[in-house]
């Protein structure tokens, strides 16, 4: 469960979020809003990538200020551009890289990597250079590299914008099947249709918070003006 308590965030001389409060307990939560409205900042706050300048962010009761390390283990984060997330040269190495902080014995790492490769249909590519994968495969790898650490919550910041129809579907299929709680930031409103709850952000505030139907209607009205 994610709890935002009067959360504010500002870059030097640029307020981004102002006193946002919300309790996010649903399994599937969407976040939409205009460019620069503060969606990515909100997503980053949940993972502790940025810390609030005012208020508190709690994940399962843990404060991102005080308990950063535990929060990080609990919350997985996937970015828009898979190229940014892939660190190691080959697919298998990149998956293993995620397990480093766990300091597991080598054979356990290998086993986990093999399981994960199989789960996301990447077995054949285990020793391929990661940057030669297709866009969709890269994004799947980025997802897998986060899921291998078994986070309790997944935060995804526009994970499909650079993808084509097929890759987008492949990624969304994987996301739909996740047992975790999912927070998804996206400009692709169609994928939110069967979500439990959608937040609409505008100029650093939550301006709508509802089931997808009414929330997306509110966002569309906002974009008219």
């Amino acid at each position: 469960m994610i709890e935002l308590r009067r959360v504010s965030f500002a870059y030097p001389q640029r307020p981004v979020l102002t006193e946002v409060s919300a309790v996010l307990a649903e399994q599937r939560i969407g976040i939409v809003g205009g460019n620069g409205s503060g969606k990515s900042t909100l997503a980053r706050l949940i993972n502790g990538l940025v810390r609030p300048t005012g208020g508190q962010v709690l994940v399962d009761g843990l404060d991102t200020h005080r308990d950063l390390k535990q929060v990080r283990r609990r919350v997985g984060f996937v970015f828009q551009d898979p190229d940014l997330q892939i660190v190691m040269p080959t697919v298998a190495e990149d998956l293993a890289f995620s397990l480093r902080p766990r300091k597991l014995p080598a054979d356990q790492v290998r086993q986990r990597v093999e399981q994960t490769l199989a789960a996301y249909g990447l077995q054949e590519h285990a020793d391929h250079p990661a940057h030669l994968l297709s866009g969709g495969q890269k994004q799947l790898l980025a997802l897998a590299a986060v899921l291998i650490t078994e986070p309790a919550i997944m935060v995804l910041d526009e994970p499909t914008t650079l993808l084509d129809l097929r890759n987008r579907r492949a990624v969304m299929r994987v996301v739909a099947g996740l047992p975790q709680q999912v927070v998804l930031v996206t400009h692709d409103l169609d994928v939110l249709a069967d979500f439990d709850r959608v937040l609409v952000i505008d100029e650093g505030r939550i301006v709508a918070d509802d089931t997808p139907g009414p929330a997306l209607a509110a966002y569309r009205r906002l974009a008219e003006v």
Partner: protein
Amino acid sequence: MLSLYQPGTSPVHRCPAWVKLLAMLVLGTAAFFLTDLRVLGAGLAVVIGAYAVARIPIAAAWKLLRGVLVMLVIVVLAQGLLGDWPTAAQVGIRLLLVIGLANLITLTTTQTAIVDTVERIATPLRVFGVRPDRIGLLIALVFRFIPVIATEAARVREAHEARGVRPGLSYLAPLVIRTLRMADGLGEALEVRGVGEDDPPRRRGARVRG
């Protein structure tokens, strides 16, 4: 943006950039052949007078000098302790004179004026395939890239943190690769906008790289 220029209308400001650069060259060279402390001292006084004429705020002059001063003190101390003090004084005054003059030019000349002068001075380099008229564009691009690199560095660091991995050296290579890709993208945008149109035609089917 990244400039130390102090706007003004004094004679020093209005003096053409090439004259100032030439004066720098002549005086800078001369200073290295002068050993008489009185002559060097007089030269330094002239330079300080020029600061007054140009009405340079002391804070601005100090900001520029501060960086060099630490080095200067070390040099003079080392010379005094390892060698003799008269030479130390000579070295100190000479450096102060030359650096003071150079800083005065930096403070009273816009970057545009210097770039224009450099472009003109560099014209003979054309025979080596250098395009002096590109210098202004290059500088504009450097200033464009600085914040981009900073943002990308933050992005790559975040991507590491999000995976619970402390960002160490492993983050430099991804950062370089990403910025290289961005430079490629920007290069294409330049091409589309007519940069390179007037270059001599290149070999047909020349190598293509992404």
